[in-house]
């Protein structure tokens, strides 16, 4: 059951071979048994989950089941869910019980899914290893001495260890794709604007995008069907007709043009990752795809530009945490300004403070043009590189991350080394393009390797088709961490 696809689980529920209450209880029991070693979950509320499971069973009994009705889904603790503690991995929000639902949460509720629990994450989604969380680091289910990637490391570890059939995450610079790669699961960051940001605690608003994390491309498609949709409360939400992301997954890949950027296979890419990705490219050629050599000349500038834009937007977004209306307030202070300074100094962790300081600096008087404006111009160059590339190919394939999962603590002391892990993922956020990661093999230490599939605006269905066809021909996505069978 824990290896079942969403479609299979839905079938079992429809045939009454299993109730949503039983399914939810089984996962809760499994979380209770396996999660203490992983720390993937921050909050479990069995009573609340079971209320939803009972409601789902009633829907199924009434013949009103939808594809996700009764399926437990783990939520990254960045999505506000009414009545649930929503911490964003921070001391600042350690006691914050959300008074409302995020749009994605509303949609999953309306789809009949069961909120299984809130998953651990880098504080305010700022990190690539899920080590900056206030609630302690998450361990990689494949090797507990290694990181699961980040910032959606809790959601990734939960799916990888089969503690949830599927999960939701957010991706500002790779935070869905990179942990998916490092834990051997699938994750998709949609085109910016496809999934509403309403109720998703803001990090960098022009880059943040929610998306699904699951064991297979088909499961991602079913999740995205439920998550995507226009929402007037997010001013950047796109008004588009609803799309069925599963519609074309069964189609063959004959004639698909796969772009392989030379910049993604140069210095800095580990040999084991390169070999696994090469193997995947060969597999796609066997499936009828054609390989096209392309170039993304400005890709080396994506990390520098990202570390101006994301902190700048974060410094503005996180100014709301001042200890007045909600969140942490310092116990002692001299006056109002001192209350702000002490509440923020005590409530935020080191990485969050670092990014707020970078952002404050680049936006400060005299530096705006040299940093923020410059970065916004580079952002256009990067988007133009992709526009040029997509004239020659339909999808761009390459590694998701430059290496397999590294040891806990290995990069924690050097922010720049940590930032460079996102070298292949941040460009899609800067351009607002969709991109996903699927497992494509194993590297050093038996750790999973992720293949990134990126597409043009609104190419999610095509990406999912390519990923699904690959998964029909391979079994990397079916492998699971030792000890979780």
């Amino acid at each position: 059951m824990f290896n079942s696809t969403l479609k299979q689980l839905s079938g079992l529920l429809a045939q009454k071979k299993l109730s949503s209450v039983e399914l939810t209880q089984s996962y809760l029991e499994r979380i209770g048994r396996l999660d203490p070693a992983l720390n993937a979950f921050v909050t479990i509320d069995a009573a609340k989950s079971l209320v939803q499971a009972r409601a789902a069973d009633a829907q199924i009994a009434a013949g009103k089941a939808q594809p996700l009705t009764g399926i437990p889904v783990a939520h990254k603790d960045i999505f506000c869910a009414k009545g649930w503690r929503t911490t964003c991995g921070s001391k600042m929000l350690a006691n914050f019980v959300s008074p409302y639902d995020a749009h994605v949460v509303e949609r999953l509720n309306a789809a009949g899914a069961v909120l299984l629990g809130k998953t651990n994450m880098d504080e305010f989604a700022m990190g690539s290893s899920t080590e900056t969380c206030y609630f302690g680091p998450v361990k990689n289910p494949w090797d507990h001495a290694r990181v699961p990637g980040g910032s959606s490391g809790g959601s990734a570890a939960a799916v990888a260890a089969r503690l949830a059939p599927a999960a939701i995450g957010t991706d500002t610079g790779g935070s869905i794709r990179q942990p998916a790669a490092l834990t051997g699961i699938c994750g998709l960051k949609p085109t910016y604007g496809v999934v509403s940001r309403y109720g998703m605690i803001a990090f960098a608003s022009s880059l943040d995008q929610g998306g699904p994390m699951a064991k297979s491309a088909e499961d991602l498609a079913l999740m995205l069907n439920a998550m995507a949709g226009f929402d007037a409360r997010d001013s950047t939400s796109l008004e588009r007709p609803p799309e069925d992301y599963t519609a074309r997954i069964g189609l063959p890949l004959q004639g698909l043009r796969i772009g392989v950027p030379k910049e993604y296979f140069g210095e800095g890419l580990a040999g084991d990752v390169a070999a696994a990705v090469e193997g995947a490219l060969a597999q796609f050629e066997k499936l009828g795809a054609r390989r096209v050599a392309i170039s993304l000349p400005n890709s080396g500038l994506s990390v520098p530009a990202y570390y101006v834009i994301a902190p700048a937007e974060a410094s503005s977004n996180l100014s709301r945490f001042d200890g007045v209306r909600y969140g942490y307030r310092a116990p002692e202070y001299a006056d109002l300004a001192d209350m702000y300074r002490k509440s923020r100094a005590q409530g935020f962790g080191a990485e969050v403070k670092r990014r707020i300081l970078i952002g404050t600096y680049v936006l400060s008087h005299g530096y705006y043009d040299a940093y923020y404006l410059k970065a916004q111009k580079i952002r256009r160059l990067i988007a133009q590189d992709f526009a040029e590339a997509y004239r020659q190919c339909d999808l761009i394939l390459g590694p998701t991350a430059p290496s397999v999962a590294f040891a806990l603590g290995a990069k924690a002391a050097d922010p720049v080394q940590m930032y460079l892990i996102d070298i292949y993922t941040v460009a899609a956020n800067l351009a607002g393009l969709p991109a996903m990661s699927i497992p494509c093999g194993f590297g050093e230490g038996g750790m999973p390797v992720g293949l990134q599939l990126a597409g043009n605006y609104f190419a999610e269905a095509l990406m999912l088709q390519a990923a699904h066809q690959y998964q029909l021909a391979t079994d990397w996505h079916l492998r699971q961490p030792p000890g979780t069978e």
Binding site: Y192, S206, V303, P304, A337, R344, A345, Q376, R379, L381
Partner: protein, 95 residues
């Protein structure tokens, strides 16, 4: 361009984050490493390139000027650090 300790402290002051001397020294090292990375941006000529704020260059939607939100005052204040008579309490700012 390396940041001095007084500059680090000034940025922390602007960001409303209290910082100790020890923290400022450690932060200075980290920030200067990060700015060295950021400086790579200067290697490309961006003259004549329009800055990009959003992937799709969409225009901001406007909505009708009418009330859409219900009053949830009590619910929202139930999670505040300190409230009294429906007001958020902060240290006195006017003598």
């Amino acid at each position: 361009m390396p940041l001095s300790i007084p500059e680090v402290k000034r940025v922390a002051w602007l960001a409303r984050i209290e910082i100790t001397d020890v923290e400022a020294a450690a932060t200075q090292g980290h920030l200067n490493g990060i700015f060295k990375l950021i400086e790579q941006m200067q290697s490309v000529d961006t003259a004549g390139i329009a800055p990009m704020a959003h992937g799709q260059d969409v225009v901001q939607r406007l909505r009708e000027d009418r009330v859409t939100e219900a009053d949830q005052h009590a619910l929202f204040q139930s999670i505040a650090p300190q409230v009294e008579d429906g007001l958020y309490l902060v240290p006195k700012v006017i003598e």
